[in-house]
Amino acid sequence: MFTGLMLNTWITATAVAVIAGVTGFFAVLRGSSFAAHAIPNGAFAGAAGASLLGLNPFAGLAAFSVAGALGIAGLGRRARHDVATALTFVMMLGLGALFVSWSTEYAQQAYSLLFGEVFGVAADEVLPIVALGAASIAAIAVMFRPLMLSSALPEVAEARGVSARRMELAFLLVMALATSMTVPVVGALLMFSLMIGPAAAARSVTARPLAAIGLAVGIALVTVWTGIVASYQTNWPLGFFVGVLGGVFFLFGRAYGAGRRRMAVRTAAA
């Protein structure tokens, strides 16, 4: 289970979990879960278009995820945020449907873009994914404080010269960067569940922002590693295990948070 192709799987899945944990923390903090859903899933249309034109699907994914980020940020200036995200998303999905209908042998490929091919990671795919993951985490580290300020306290951030619009664009571009490399391997749906589930669970457990990020990464790692073992043993799809584990961790996190609050109330009352 730890040799050859599987080793690539372990390395890639680990990198993806780290990226997802970090970017997911901010996606949940900003209330951008819908964008975290739309960008990876809409980007698959780019891969479809690229393969239709005989181009590298990675180029199509990158182009569409960046276009998605620009679209959400651009439309978001004029419309409600969820509406802007939805409009961008359905435009990308519409194009995807068109590209898939023009292509004859695309159905199988589309399936793997949505659900991933984590057990078939080629050796030459590992390094770009790890490098891109490092780049997106470095980008988040550089803009950590203004991103935190703008995500949690937008009214104050604006008054201190941290433009909400610019932070939104910067964050969505990082998410697009992370997406374009990870989607072909783990699939759009998996990337989405790894971003939201662990981050949402982590914030119920700890009030410290850095600890919450660390915990989100930890939960994402446990989720994806457990998922790989279970999927390897049962031959059931990895996406199933990751999705279910994400929900389970979230419920545990909420229960823990509720228990902690009840304890706090009782301590205060005593």
């Binding site: 300020l149 306290l153 201190r160 009030a207 922002p209």
Partner: protein, 261 residues
């Protein structure tokens, strides 16, 4: 003493509508100024002008120093993973790029600010789980930790219980005196601020009257400002601004004019 802030004939138009007209006043270092007026009078717009977020149509604004800002209300969920001390720390350097290493000096400065506003008891609580008054104290610490010359507060006393209002006002008055920070605070009810205000900027119908409370809160001055006759009543040490008749001419002001003062 040199002025910290000077507004000279400032006018603001939003979507073709005139929001503010010919507003002029100055603020000196350490001065405590109340920006008083009914809801919808243009107080928030005026604060946005000073913050540089709202361009002026006419006139000029001159600011001679850094500004701290406390928003009206936080829109933050109870389970947001951000402690009170994290919020105060972000006031120090939240706008800066790059990685910050933890330092003892920083931690001590945060604790000092938490003590100054009386928030040390809930320093490790989540900001979203606090009451409105507690959040206001934290946001005042967040704004003051960077030692601004001027502190702007947008209706910090709205929706607070009476005890919290008194607490916040005394914290502000004390900090303004101790650190020489000028304070500009907006409110629709002037009464909690009357004991501490040096200057009142009374805004109504888009225009402003400026001076001491005794100069400005007079029937003639305010009637001219509202464009209708108003009376000023002093009852049990409270000041009430009352419309003489319900004309409906200033609907946005009516409730305030008759009740809130």
């Amino acid at each position: 003493m040199a002025e910290l802030l000077r507004l000279d004939g400032v006018g603001v138009r939003l979507g073709g509508r005139e929001i503010l007209r010919d507003v002029s006043f100055t603020i000196a270092p350490g001065e405590f100024t109340g920006l008083i007026g009914p809801n919808g009078a243009g107080k928030t717009t005026l604060l946005r002008v000073i913050l540089g977020l709202q361009p002026v149509a006419t006139g000029a604004m001159l600011l001679n120093g850094s500004v701290g800002y406390v928003p009206q209300k936080l829109a933050i969920e109870p389970d947001t993973p951000l402690r009170v001390r994290d919020v105060v720390g972000l006031g120090l350097d939240g706008h800066k790029l790059g990685i910050r290493l933890p330092s003892r000096a920083r931690r001590e400065r945060v604790n000092e600010m938490l003590t100054a506003v009386g928030a040390q008891r809930y320093a490790n609580a989540r900001i979203g789980e606090l009451s409105g008054g507690e959040q206001q104290r934290v946001m005042i610490a967040h704004a003051l930790i960077a030692r601004p010359r001027l502190l702007l507060l947008d209706e910090p006393l709205a929706n607070l219980d009476i005890a919290s209002v008194g607490g916040i006002v005394s914290v502000l008055a004390r900090l303004a005196r101790a650190e020489g920070t000028a304070v500009l605070i907006s409110a629709h009810d002037m009464n909690p601020l009357v004991p501490v205000m040096d200057t009142i900027v009374y805004v109504a119908s888009g225009r402003a009257a400026v001076g001491s409370t005794d100069q400005v809160v007079q029937p003639e001055v305010l009637s001219r400002l509202y464009g209708q006759h108003v009376d000023v009543l002093r009852v049990h040490g409270r000041i009430l601004v009352v419309a003489a008749e319900e004309t409906g001419a200033v609907p946005a002001d009516a409730e305030h004019v008759t009740a809130a003062g």
